[in-house]
């Protein structure tokens, strides 16, 4: 019975933390929001990270960054966020005792697949970095044949310049005759 109560308590505690992870040695916790995202290729989304200082002292000079890993079957790899237009790192000068800091990471979804995003906080005074829970991101592929109305320009402009070219050639030929 005691064992069951203990297991249930642990499960309840884990649920109560709700996407927040704290290491025993750390004075800070970090969470990521939203916990899951369904979007299309080309969409812009914003992840928000909340860093909370749980201690009675201020914490200084934190570095926080977002990471994205592709978990699509057969394509598992960490992603280079430069391609996703995301600012990787934010330097947090100070968080007062029991205060919070909210950071935003806007990004453009440029490839389809399943991903996980998580935010990590590095405090140089602690050996263990603190990471948030993972937020699941599913990006649906969108096939676009004429994005930004590119076709009229891509086909029309060479034809237009060609027409001017033909006109000049015709005019010159007439002049020579």
């Amino acid at each position: 019975m005691k064992k069951t109560i203990l297991i249930l308590s642990i499960i309840f505690l884990a649920m109560a933390l709700n996407y927040t992870y704290t290491t025993a040695s750390s004075r800070i916790t970090v969470s990521i929001s939203p916990p899951s995202v369904q979007a299309n290729m080309g969409d812009k989304i914003t992840y928000e990270g909340t860093i909370t200082n749980d201690s009675d002292n201020p914490v200084n000079n934190l570095i926080t960054y977002i990471s994205l890993a592709n978990v699509t079957h057969g394509k598992e790899a960490p992603m280079d966020l430069e391609d996703w237009s995301a600012d990787k790192a934010i330097k947090v000068d100070t968080i007062p005792p029991h205060g919070t800091y909210k950071g935003k990471w806007p990004m453009r979804l440029i490839d389809s697949g399943s991903y996980v995003a998580y935010i990590t906080v590095v405090d140089k005074n602690h050996n263990t970095p603190v990471s948030s829970m993972m937020s699941h991101l599913n990006v649906k592929r969108v096939l676009r044949l004429n994005p930004n109305n590119v076709l009229p320009v891509a086909i029309g402009e060479p034809i237009l310049i060609g027409a001017v070219f033909m006109f000049i050639s015709f005019k010159r030929r007439n002049r020579v005759k």
Partner: protein, 249 residues
């Protein structure tokens, strides 16, 4: 006025000809293929719009510079080889006016390339960041780079008097200037790469485009690089002036 006359003559002979117009048709076809691939190809469309715009801007600049080099190499050496420079010297136009007129024609060519590329820039950069600012910088820096490289190759053409040789040397200089494209990003961050980037006007322009379009940095970040490009412009105009004045049959 005489400069304008020479410029008109050059435009009639080099640009407003069927052969000259083929350049612009080809430019437009290449830009069509490039922009369509950027926007629809699965791998290329992974790039964000700022990066696409930046890459198209680099391509347009390189194309303008390359055409400027060819026009510049032909300016005096081509006239000598065709035996038409003597007649030009006998006309009541001094050598500086001839050089300025020819440079004006090269800039007109750049202006046409810029105009041809505008719809593509708008299509690729639509909805993205810093589109208008990027176009403004492309217009200004592209014009300065056209002056730099065409004035240099015109001066060289006047001194060497051989179109083939001045064209080869100009291409070597162009390849050297385009070295940032061949050097890895890691090497460009070393002191050697940084110096090479700083003293190279082409790299300065490319880095300015990067800074303006991708990093959204203001003019204060660009002053140093723009100043270096301006210094090169003045130096190359001076080189052209000296070469044109010394030119003899």
């Amino acid at each position: 006025m005489k400069t304008l006359y020479i410029m008109q003559k050059e435009i009639r002979e080099s640009i407003l000809t069927p052969k000259g117009f083929l350049w612009y048709i080809l430019t437009s076809i290449i830009l069509s293929v490039l922009s369509y691939l950027f926007l629809t190809n699965r791998e290329l469309s992974l790039l964000d719009q700022g990066t696409m715009l930046y890459m198209i801007m680099n391509f347009i600049t390189a194309l303008g510079v390359l055409m400027g080099l060819v026009f510049g190499s032909d300016a005096f050496a081509g006239e000598i080889e065709r035996g038409t420079l003597e007649a030009l010297f006998l006309s009541p136009v001094n050598r500086m006016e001839i050089a300025a007129g020819k440079l004006g024609a090269v800039l007109t060519n750049w202006g046409i390339i810029f105009a041809v590329s505008l719809p593509y820039l708008f299509i690729v950069g639509k909805g993205g960041q810093n589109l208008l600012m990027g176009i403004l910088y492309l217009g200004i820096l592209g014009t300065l780079l056209s002056i730099i490289f065409s004035a240099f190759s015109m001066g060289l053409s006047a001194r060497i008097k051989s179109m083939k040789n001045s064209l080869i040397i100009s291409f070597f200089v162009f390849l050297l200037a385009g070295s940032p494209v061949f050097i890895s990003a890691a090497l460009r961050r070393t002191w050697f790469g940084r110096i090479l980037d700083l003293v190279n006007p082409f790299a300065d322009a490319v880095n300015t485009f990067d800074s303006v379009v991708i990093d959204s940095q203001g003019f204060s970040y660009q002053i140093g690089r723009v100043a270096i490009i301006c210094v090169y412009t003045l130096l190359c105009i001076w080189f052209l002036k000296r070469s044109a004045v010394k030119l003899e049959m």
